[in-house]
Symmetry: C2
Subunit: 349 residues, 2 copies
DNA sequence: TCCTACAGCGTAACAGTTACGGGCCCTCAA
DNA sequence: TTGAGGGCCCGTAACTGTTACGCTGTAGGA
């Protein structure tokens, strides 16, 4: 209905100018460009490229560039997304949201210019971008996070109940001082895990000791740091819940290096996005989410949204996680270990 | 120069028919379609989509669908490729080579139809596809493998010399019976590592014992299997070279579980694509390749190839790997351990 | 005053795609 | 036998967006 020529007529300019304005080419005054983009937005203009429909799904990260090392979670999620997208005969393109978007053009215009008909978004803690894109009416699915905005569709996994179950498991083994080692970037997932931790302790009548909650980066170094920080305390915990796979790995290796026997001296509950829990020594008890199936499901929904012409109903799903007991949790130690000022191991009597 | 209308004229048909034939739409007889595609290939026809240049780089895997779990190497490689592609203001799309390519259309036509101007390919052991695409003149770079075909451009890392250095390191520590644990899918990388192993032993005057060379899948289970198979022998090795990160991890954990002291009882040299060697206990001595920088470099070259109009000169580079001594190699044990029929540990005197 | 340079824009020709309709052939019923 | 329908194949023409080329006006300097 609305074409380049229509916009040109309405503004009393030529189609060439409109096209130039749309594609960030030179030879257009800033004022004309702004008017064109503004009118295009009002008309919900979609370039239809000789009418040929495109079937590319975009995968958008807010950061630029994508952080150098795709973690285990991102890799598993991507595997799942690829599988789902291929199943529906679409392709997948990585799109950088920040790189070459013109400030005056809307995200809708930007994605159309890239030939992308719908996107899957990661938030990494900041959901403002997905809310803005949703408000433009462009089909977008937030994956592995949630948004307060009631218009945003998302697919997340919920770890509150399972985290709570994990802490209850520890309490049932006699643990009373339980540490919580979290990612220092707060998203809803980590809030979930923290509230599960607090609820379990509260219901068991154990007062939360804020000094037992530590935060660091979600990598092996962060795991070592958090373990050390917790065990250097005068009254160290007898069990720790790590909310991230990499920090769990780092902590387990630090224990091996220091001579801390897991689970005899210290019980550890970790988090797993795929099969990492089976690849450590000892295999760790974990709250598990299935990142692959999360990706598959996200891809299935977004391909449907890309194909349907009218707007999809808002979609919100939180998938349950599971709790798997392996080899790193046991009865609370009667003589908890702590780390001395020189890094040596001290057994409290 | 050659347009849809030109092809239509030459065949005495209409542009609509040509367009339909190109895009796998119905309403064209098979014979006409074949004639159109054949002539388009002869004319080196490139659809130029209203003259608008596309700048999407394709990432192509021969298998369909992409194997469910992107390994550490694939994830690191992808990180690097993304970084390089973004740096050059291009986008990256995953393309499935097998999914919806029409048998009669060439790969060049297929990629143009997808809006992809150049591709990076993974081989997974079979280089026939990249050779075929190269022969069509489409810009393609094979990454992390090599091809015999002199027309194929590739970027690989060579591990022969470094593998040899690793074995020489073991020999200098007094090891004489050294096991080789390989991936059961043979590509040039693994051939490299095997020949480095053989050359080092040969030059040291040690006869290769074929029973010390075992193969399995490149995952943790494969590592455990290979370790077991080697140590069950009557004259077990005192050191093992694992040519894959995941099998190295599996073997190290199996050692912890069995009570085999590394490196006192058994020395292990592993392989690393990123930073895995620092995330095990003990940290393992390894032949290291940098998958991220491999990806960055591949992306830089292919974006240049995508932008230049004429064909690029053939590009071939093999990047060196490095050898890093960490905590899993030491002097050859005087009383090598072996695994008994019931899985128990036996110390040979 | 005249010349040059450049930014901004329009005309027209180009690219590829598709709605519509028209032959052609086959089938089936009157 | 003939007419009606229907499906396949294809062409005409109208549509999409893009760009080479040239025009106009303005600013600056010789």
């Amino acid at each position: 209905m609305s074409s380049v020529r229509q916009i040109a007529n309405e503004l009393g300019i030529s189609v060439a100018t409109v096209s130039r304005a749309m594609n960030q080419r030179s030879g257009v005054s800033e004022e004309t460009r702004r008017k064109v983009l503004e009118l295009a937005q009002r008309h919900q203009y979609k370039p239809s490229m000789g009418r040929k429909p495109t079937n590319i799904i975009g995968l958008v990260y807010p950061e630029e560039p994508v952080k150098s090392d795709l973690g285990d979670f991102e890799a598993s999620l991507l595997s799942g997304i690829l599988r789902g997208v291929y199943e529906k005969k679409h392709d997948l393109a990585f799109i950088s949201a920040a790189r070459d978007k013109h400030p005056d053009e809307t995200y809708t215009q930007f994605f159309h210019r890239k030939g992308v008909s719908a996107i899957i978004m990661r938030s990494l803690g900041d959901t403002s971008l997905v809310e803005r894109i949703t408000s433009e009416g462009f089909p977008v699915l937030l994956v592995a996070d949630r948004s307060e905005d009631p218009a945003v569709s998302y697919l997340d996994s919920i770890s509150h109940d399972t985290s709570r179950k994990a802490i209850e498991h520890l309490i049932s083994l006699g643990h009373k001082r339980i540490g919580l080692a979290m990612h220092n970037i707060v998203d809803t997932d980590h809030q979930d895990r923290e509230s599960g931790y607090r609820d379990a302790l509260h219901d068991a009548g154990i007062k939360v000791d804020e000094s037992l909650i530590v935060k660091a980066e979600a990598n092996t170094a962060g795991g070592e740091i958090m373990l050390t920080r917790l065990l250097e305390q005068e009254h160290p915990p007898t069990a720790i819940f790590f909310t991230n796979p990499m920090s769990t790995i780092g902590a387990l290796h630090k224990c091996l290096r220091l001579g801390i026997k897991v689970p005899k001296d210290l019980s550890i509950v970790g988090f797993d996005d795929s099969v990492t829990r089976h690849q450590t020594f000892p295999r760790y008890t974990a709250v598990c989410q299935d990142a692959i199936s999360l990706g598959v499901e996200a891809a299935r929904w977004i391909t449907r949204a890309a194909q349907s012409d009218e707007a999809m109903p808002i979609y919100r799903e939180v998938r349950p996680t599971s709790f798997e007991v392996l080899e790193t949790t046991s009865y609370a130690s009667v003589s908890p270990v702590r780390i001395g000022p020189d890094g040596e191991l001290i057994r409290t009597v």
